[in-house]
Symmetry: D2
Subunit: 357 residues, 4 copies
Amino acid sequence: MIIVTRPHVTDPELDAIREVVERAGLQTHLSRGEHRTIVGCIGDERMLAEVGLSTLPGVESVIPVLKPYRQVAREFRADPTVVVVGEGEGASIGGNQLAVIAGPCSVEGREMLFSAAASVRAAGATLLRGGAFKPRSSPYAFRGLGEEALALLAEVRAVSGLPVVTEVMDTRQVEIVAEHADMLQIGARNMQNFPLLSAVGDLRRPVLLKRGLSATVEELLLAAEYILARGNDQVVLCERGIRTFKTATRNTLDVSAVPVLKRETHLPVIVDPSHAGGKSWLVAPLSFAAVAAGADGLIIEVHPKPSEARSDAEQSVAPGEFGDLMSRLRAFAGAAGRTMSAIPDNVPVDPGSGAGG
Amino acid sequence: MIIVTRPHVTDPELDAIREVVERAGLQTHLSRGEHRTIVGCIGDERMLAEVGLSTLPGVESVIPVLKPYRQVAREFRADPTVVVVGEGEGASIGGNQLAVIAGPCSVEGREMLFSAAASVRAAGATLLRGGAFKPRSSPYAFRGLGEEALALLAEVRAVSGLPVVTEVMDTRQVEIVAEHADMLQIGARNMQNFPLLSAVGDLRRPVLLKRGLSATVEELLLAAEYILARGNDQVVLCERGIRTFKTATRNTLDVSAVPVLKRETHLPVIVDPSHAGGKSWLVAPLSFAAVAAGADGLIIEVHPKPSEARSDAEQSVAPGEFGDLMSRLRAFAGAAGRTMSAIPDNVPVDPGSGAGG
Amino acid sequence: MIIVTRPHVTDPELDAIREVVERAGLQTHLSRGEHRTIVGCIGDERMLAEVGLSTLPGVESVIPVLKPYRQVAREFRADPTVVVVGEGEGASIGGNQLAVIAGPCSVEGREMLFSAAASVRAAGATLLRGGAFKPRSSPYAFRGLGEEALALLAEVRAVSGLPVVTEVMDTRQVEIVAEHADMLQIGARNMQNFPLLSAVGDLRRPVLLKRGLSATVEELLLAAEYILARGNDQVVLCERGIRTFKTATRNTLDVSAVPVLKRETHLPVIVDPSHAGGKSWLVAPLSFAAVAAGADGLIIEVHPKPSEARSDAEQSVAPGEFGDLMSRLRAFAGAAGRTMSAIPDNVPVDPGSGAGG
Amino acid sequence: MIIVTRPHVTDPELDAIREVVERAGLQTHLSRGEHRTIVGCIGDERMLAEVGLSTLPGVESVIPVLKPYRQVAREFRADPTVVVVGEGEGASIGGNQLAVIAGPCSVEGREMLFSAAASVRAAGATLLRGGAFKPRSSPYAFRGLGEEALALLAEVRAVSGLPVVTEVMDTRQVEIVAEHADMLQIGARNMQNFPLLSAVGDLRRPVLLKRGLSATVEELLLAAEYILARGNDQVVLCERGIRTFKTATRNTLDVSAVPVLKRETHLPVIVDPSHAGGKSWLVAPLSFAAVAAGADGLIIEVHPKPSEARSDAEQSVAPGEFGDLMSRLRAFAGAAGRTMSAIPDNVPVDPGSGAGG
């Protein structure tokens, strides 16, 4: 922590500043410049977080030197974290192979879910997404099938072999969602829902943490720190577009957050091109850009028939488009030094056999 | 709903568009222009919200005509809503008298709380704020005294006569907070925590709903609609600064949101100058600006000794500053055609007598 | 300047950093903390502005301590600057009396200009605005009458006695605009048109400098510094709304910029509520808020018949509305400790007599 | 143009609205819905741009249907524009081959310029950048060598064969810059300097138009339209990062602007990863992302010794880094279906021979 004082700070003011810092267990170090006197604080500056240094007379500004997060930082863990989702071998996020999560915005019914699962699996996706509880701006919009959807997700996993990711929005639902899903998603609007972060921190299941619409990179890392601080280090970060003045796209994909995050943290970083762009025709170019910038994976909305989707119709891609995207993606993944999963043998995902899965 | 088609839309495309709209129960109305054909949709356009119109071939853009909220709209209720907080006469928000909520960021102990209550009451505040559960960006920061703070708030209310406002962050806490507080605050980070909005919508207690850091006015109104849609129409909206590119202040007070909201909704609108500016010296000018712009009230952080505050030290004002602010505020309130409460007789708020309150 | 080094900085790296700083004429001062070593730089840190300190091995970040502007700073001049516009007594901006500049967005013809001048003068405005050269987003929009408008402005000044303010957009026009106008406006889009700033810096006429749509407070002050650095200290700053994610208003009035600027600089600060809100019904509440926050004045678009305005129709107020606004404004000005000019005797501003004025 | 009326619009109000529209030469078309009446306007809606429709009684909102730009639109020209820079064969921007413009932020002297030119040419760049007139936030910063730099650029072009790009900031400099440079750059701060846009529109030289920090895609296209409207269609657009709330990078690269622009306009689109990220270590990942998203080229700051650069030191890459970047870039260009220029034979660019070039 560095304390910059006002131009004509007095000695008693300086003494009072030093006293507050030293009472918190740090040492001080004065540096009298031509225009300003600087008080350097040596020791664990987190002890000063709760002290109102900037309100003391004579203080002009207080500049933190250390980053406010610990366990998510690269310095805390030398090797990149690889998060394994699902049982058995599962699907990895954070390793050399690019992870592709795909599936419908919401689970609208059994047939569409099985159809979506089959097509994304055939195109090479390694995890399935599908919303059971949907956060919607309007109370009059479709908010998901809830527990019925959770049951369907568990069923389709059994048949398709794809681990499933679904969003949890309420601390009271954490338990039941964790029973059905392989990975719990914290949505952008809940990135700073601290009780929810703590609740998934108490689980031992992977968490997909999406960046809030106006969250800084530091706030995203601190939100992840909430989860790690409770003992759950299976966290994947997701850039999904931020809110800016720009209206040509739904949000603004902050592609530079990918290299910034990769430099700061050992956690895997994926990108959601569907929400970032908000238009189906933007999904492919934004996916390619994300992978080129170093993303560990993608999460893409795929709907068997986008024009009939009950949410996010405009940004969902059809199975055919998704297949094309995946084909073109291979060259970009290769350029980025990454592999992609082999296309699986075309074993059909048959909704009929689901019940017995 | 107006559907603008692409330049060379074909007749079969137009037929398909019309079919989708008419299937949803609306009528269509074609208007062939020189450059574009427009399909007007007549009827309840909310029926089209779930239909992926913009994904249909030939569609260039879809423009909603109706506002997506109903019960919060001025058209829904002719008279402004006046929210009465507390038992007996209580304190009103939304009437001609300016409402001033004041008190510490967090309840840090009995003595400071009683001291704060006494000083804000003496200065003319009519409600007391104080955090029990604090949302903090870092898991390592002070997060409030929790239930102990709730008990202290109930105690100080009994002694001071000031109704109390406190934040609720978790659906699991709604019940206990409602038992102790007169008004429940939904913080900026939870403005789109939809399960929480629904939970306070089921109460019959006033709710203070703060605007999210990057929420549009429409999203704020839709969040309030979640609460009204569950039967609780005792909602007060609060502008507290938005996140912009600007770094000279903690957030950017969006003072124009006040007249915009007052025009759109019958709900009361107050302003939080403490979080908006983030500096104690900005609290007074931003309070005056808010009232001049038409705000129904203010919520201000006051701490008996700001430099010792365990959170928001930099933006808390001391009792003396608050008293000055309230004195100067009277002239602005008068210019805005509002009254302020009379200063109460100086009956002390004695912490000693609290236990028996 | 403070240089924060990386965790495991080496001694040779530290030596190289110190050498660069000392070569620029400053002294260094090492402070070895638990986690980081800090290099304090003592002396004129502006000497380091051109040195790529942050690119040196071992450097994590470089933190400036001094503000980058000099002559505009409060520390540079103890008393507030009062800018006097026009000949003779002229009209003051920055003193105790609130300055109100009003008039049409663009000068569309003689009759409308004289009519506007007469009505704003009758309502108590002390300066007249009117655009001759209009910056327009589209090349197909009306771009002002140019030199013809300059002549009309000079004419109406002679008759009305109101000093005139008009925008200059091109270095090649500075001379002719300065011949006709009493105050030159640099528009928001040109706030960082540095050759233009230098050109008006060479004049000895007052300049109205509008904040850019995405300019920080510091950048606005540095833009003013360009003008002062050339010897022209007659500069008035104008907050006119910034660009944010919000779409309910044309721009977002950054009302907190007013107290922030007043604290940082001795220059007068006024507000443009017309461009900030973009709607005529927002002009009054935003004017009141600006004055309550401490603004030295306002600049307001008034058009004799807004629905016929060739630019900014939506945000222009009619003379009647402007009169009402000015009447209500007196109470807010009073609350802010300011006076307003007396309403002048109703000497008509007669277009007929203009030619001989 | 679609006019949405207020809920209880009266017939006389509707008549007045229709009259205004029809007077402007368009036809109207009424569509009475359950909640709103819509007035469709058929004809050239640009005729309505100057009419204050939204100020008419009974009007709730006015929704344009047509885009405000013409000549830059894809509809205006079927084939993509390929801009050829320099004499003879020159260097193309907009064709299948990826264009790479590289060089120092500013021309600081002959030696560094020749060295930079030699190294970027050796790595495969096809155009040379170098600033002669530098826009700087502070009047006390280095502002370029001016005409001396122009002469050096002409010289190094003669020797290296690389066409040169340099910024022009002032209408008075357009002529002299055009005499020396092959392509004129309009910087981000001047994107809406309309006299300057018109001035370069009168030339018959290619223009590199950078997006303003807070410019929408539409505003960028309208700025280009200013140039095309004067007869110069050799315009290249450049995305260089926008200003958002985020501080982890200098600006926020809006990578989705690339596919959005490519869809809207026939003009080439390049990306400036140096200004977008503001850090040398971000230049490579952002370059790869830009090309993956479909950019036609890149403009990159390369300095022989970044730590000694007099401007933009932090974001300049050294020749070695640039070489590595170019090598890695080939795979991404290939994945995007683009070629890159062959590396030239290593003919040295010798400063000594420059004078005779």
